[in-house]
Amino acid sequence: MTALALQLLQMVLVLAAAPLLTGVVRKVKARLVGRRGPSPLQPYRDLLRLLRKEAVVAENASWLFRVAPYLVFAALWLAASLVPTFTTGLLLQPTADLIALVALLASARFMTALAGLDIGTSFGGIGSSRDMMIASLAEPAMLLVIFTVSIVAGSTALASVADYMREAEVGLRVSLAMALVALIMVALAENARIPVDNPATHLELTMVHEAMVLEYSGRHLALIEAAAMLKLLFYISLIACIFAPWGLAAPGEGAAVAAFALTAWSAKLLLGAIALAVLETSIAKMRVFRVSEFLGGALLLGLLAVIFLYVSRGI
């Protein structure tokens, strides 16, 4: 029963917190470049505005175009609800296998990329094509990070990984540091952040993710945007859960611990948002075809992490 209640709480929480997280990132970025910036609550207003508007759909759009936003949103919402953000005692925890999570995100991307091709405009195509190229390199890097982490923790189940990282004497490990850097690089790419993509751009030739969803409007766009916000929340929570699981409440630890865990999670999210904003303001976006070097680096870092692990354990 508690597991169900906690699961429902987490589902509501991630949904409520995701726009705020994006709002905070935008606010901090604006402050860093000397602008006042909109209120952190602005994303909520944007989403509500989009929901109120009529949806304009191209004449030749197929059913896939209209179904995709719902599936993409559902997949990201599910993914964000599976990560142990403040407790490991969630009802759906058994489904939170890291490999399955990666595949869930891949399904969402598959649908988005197809929707980008559905109308038959050049922007949709350029977005889909580049997004899939980025994903083709980011996904293996992510799996190698998972490989490293699960060799250390002995499991691919996210809750077990978090428990292990929290309780066992993991210590500082070179391979885990490499895995962390690789995961951050993957997270930047997957969330279409600088230096891989620019979430704020609407300059045609530099867009990747934005180009792919260019044809969406109204409630469909609201879903796509909300899904992107959930994805950011998912990745920050995932990094926090694997590499900084302190403060996570184990099942049945009482309300006080849970309240503390919630505060800890909020602090981690805030920290992640500030770090992201600082990173994004301090580097420039790279050319699309440099992305392969960036992500190839992440891939090799993941591989090195595994090999270092062997070396440190004495082959």
Binding site: V57, I99, S129, M132, A135, S155, T156, L309, R313
Partner: protein, 667 residues
């Protein structure tokens, strides 16, 4: 059960020759395909029953072939599993053929060979001695070669068929030598004797290498794969489905039979070799699939990729088995076999779907398709499921075998040899890369063919195909989902198979659950396909309800936005080539990609040109050198045909002396 399968094979063998009475009559088409479907379905069901009931192996000897030899056949768990795959795929292709065959220009070239092809496949899977095996294997090659030649009026077919024949004969030759080595040591050609003999390590390695090359050339391992993307697509689509979905599995069966069953003790590094070749095959295959423009050839390259994945898993199984970890070996072995089964399902679906597209539009080139989702909704839906399955997306079946394989790869650190440990890590990277690239490949294949605007008048005028074709596609799509959400459907039949071949099943009966897939060797990790499906459905329904109660319901149809600049011509949209451009550039070294831009000077009125090309490097470093060597050798030896009688006689004398010397030395 073996007796009933052998009895069912008699009418199957008779169907082909019988159809020669009136091969062009519609009745012949319906009789042959209908009969093949019924017989294949029956054989598949018998094989499945053999697996599920856990019956003991059955053997039979028939007085066929040379008078002093009997042709031996045996039905054990391994044969039965592959019989189930082969006949399931064949039944689907046959039912589809009833409708598809109507559009065939020369049905008399397809109908007689089709049932023979299937019968040869079944006999190969049942054979229990080297003679019957090689005879069936070669019959399978020759009948499929004849089926490829059914489209002999198309320009590329003759070259494809010739290359196929050469590669198939070469493969059979290697297998013949492999069996020769094994039988030499065992003293007999039947599998029972070979199995019980323990070959010397060097001889075992020689047999393994020969058999790996022989079966690998049929399965499409890099660099022996180059014939596959030429020959498989050249055949009519239901035959392509059979070749890609089923015949490659027969090659895998032969690989498993020889490596795990007949040779028995394998040196520890052999698993590493298989893993390396498999991993490279997977990545190379999918990269060429991404750049390929022809839909059926794209699917054939993707077959190369999937065979690579299966061989990697088999290599992993061999490595774990020979290091005394049968549970993990069983996990990898189950991943391999489940992927073989899954691949048979979704590759058949995709090839048959490509055939439906070809029937509706007359085109296989992605550049002439587009927008078919509106005109062929059922085909499009089935193909979407197939694309998702092959891209390993949950909750479809491709993901289950992928998950199992990754669970086995994750146990790589337990291997005692550091070479294998590092290999497991690199394999993980290669497999993950192949999986991610496969998603890109099938976004492109499905997106360019079915979405967007029609790229040709034929695509714009396409209409849905016959019911027998559509329903086959939909049933196969349903199977993709069923095997994805209930992985036990595929894993339960292989419980005893794993025990028999490896020594442990991935999911032993006590760990069996229809909801959660929890292989004991995966150390507590679990995947619940049906749970994922239910949960994602609940989330999607909640989203839908939420949006409907919160958001505006208004919807307006308008012209596409495209930043306000939408050129309403199909050529302005992204093409198959432009979609592949980022991957082509990133992996330019591997696919030998080149882009040539011819931009006229200002004032020059000729049109600008852009050409992108790519090239399979195996031609440069493998096929062409071998071809050149063979050509040189034939030219040199050609002089032997123009000698005088004196010289011929002295040559014979020299040969005799040489042989006598050899005998004297060896005795």
């Amino acid at each position: 059960m073996l007796a009933s399968i052998l009895i069912a094979l008699v009418p199957l063998l008779a169907l082909g020759p019988a159809s020669l009475v009136a091969p062009r009559a519609p009745a012949a088409r319906i009789a042959v395909y209908g009969g093949t479907a019924i017989l294949a379905g029956a054989i598949g069901l018998i094989a499945a029953a053999h697996l599920v009931t856990g019956s003991a192996p059955e053997a039979a000897g028939l007085p066929l072939g040379l008078p002093w030899l009997t042709a031996r056949f045996r039905l054990d768990a391994l044969s039965a599993f592959f019989l189930m795959i082969a006949n399931g795929g064949a039944a689907a292709a046959s039912i589809y053929g009833i409708g598809y065959g109507k559009h065939e220009a020369e049905p008399e070239r397809v109908i007689p060979a089709f049932p023979l092809f299937l019968a040869a496949i079944d006999l190969t899977l049942l054979a229990d001695d080297a003679f019957s095996f090689l005879l069936s294997w070669e019959t399978m090659s020759v009948t499929s070669w004849a089926l490829v030649l059914a489209t002999h009026r198309e320009p590329d077919t003759l070259r494809a068929a010739q290359l196929y024949l050469v590669m198939a004969s070469g493969g059979t030759l290697l297998l013949l030598m492999a069996f020769g080595v094994l039988a030499q040591l065992a003293g007999a050609y039947d599998f029972e004797s070979i199995r019980s003999a323990t070959p010397a390590p060097a001889a075992a390695v020689l047999a393994l290498v020969l058999a790996f090359l022989g079966t690998g050339s049929k399965a499409g391992l890099v660099p022996l794969h180059a014939w596959l993307p030429l020959a498989h697509p050249a055949a009519p689509s239901h035959v392509s489905a059979l070749m890609s979905g089923v015949m490659t599995k027969v090659a895998l069966y032969a690989m498993v039979r020889i490596t795990f069953d007949l040779v028995g003790s394998v040196p520890w590094w052999w698993g590493g070799v298989m893993m390396a070749v498999g991993g490279i095959t997977a990545v190379v295959g999918v990269l060429f699939a991404i750049v390929e423009q022809d839909l059926k050839r794209l699917l054939a390259y993707s077959t190369v990729e999937n065979i690579g994945i299966v061989v990697t898993a088999l290599g992993l199984a061999a490595a774990f088995r020979d290091n005394g970890m049968p549970e993990i070996a069983g996990l990898a072995f189950a991943a391999a076999l489940l992927h073989a089964l899954n691949h048979a399902v979704f590759k058949s679906l995709l090839f048959l779907g490509a055939g439906a597209i070809a029937t509706a539009t007359g085109a296989r080139d992605l550049g002439r398709l587009g927008g078919l989702i509106g005109r062929m909704p059922q085909t499009a839906f089935a193909m979407l499921v197939g694309a998702g399955a092959i891209a390993a997306l949950p909750p479809l079946n491709g993901f289950v075998s992928e998950w199992l394989l990754f669970q086995a790869v994750l146990k790589g650190p337990l291997l005692p040899q550091w070479e294998l440990k590092i290999a497991a890590a690199v394999i993980a990277a290669l497999l993950a890369l192949a999986a991610a690239l496969a998603a890109t490949c099938f976004v492109r294949a499905f997106g360019i063919a079915f979405l967007g605007r029609p790229r040709s008048p034929e695509a714009a005028a396409a209409s849905e195909v016959e019911p027998s074709m559509r329903w086959t596609l939909l049933v196969l799509a349903g199977l993709c989902l069923a095997l994805g959400i209930l992985p036990m459907l595929g894993l339960m039949p292989m419980t005893r198979l794993g025990e028999a071949v490896i020594g442990a099943a991935a999911v032993p009966p006590e760990a069996r659950s229809w909801i959660w897939l929890t292989p004991p060797a995966a150390g507590g990790n679990s995947y619940g396909g049906i749970v994922v499906l239910i949960v994602i459905t609940v989330f999607a329904v909640m989203t839908r309800i939420g949006i409907h109660s919160l958001a505006s319901h208004r919807l307006r149809r308008a012209k596409p936005w495209a930043c306000g600049f939408d050129a309403p011509v199909h050529a302005a949209q992204y093409s198959a080539s432009s979609f592949a451009q980022p991957v082509r550039r990133v992996f330019a070294g591997l696919v030998r990609a080149e882009e040539r831009v011819d931009m006229p000077e200002p004032g020059d009125l000729r049109p600008a040109h852009f050409a992108a090309s790519w090239r399979d490097a195996s031609w440069d470093f493998f096929y062409n050198p071998i071809g050149a060597a063979v050509g040189w050798l034939s030219l040199t030896l050609n002089q032997l045909q123009f000698l005088t009688i004196r010289k011929y006689l002295s040559l014979m004398f020299a040969a005799l002396v040489g042989l006598l010397f050899l005998v004297a030395v060896t005795q």
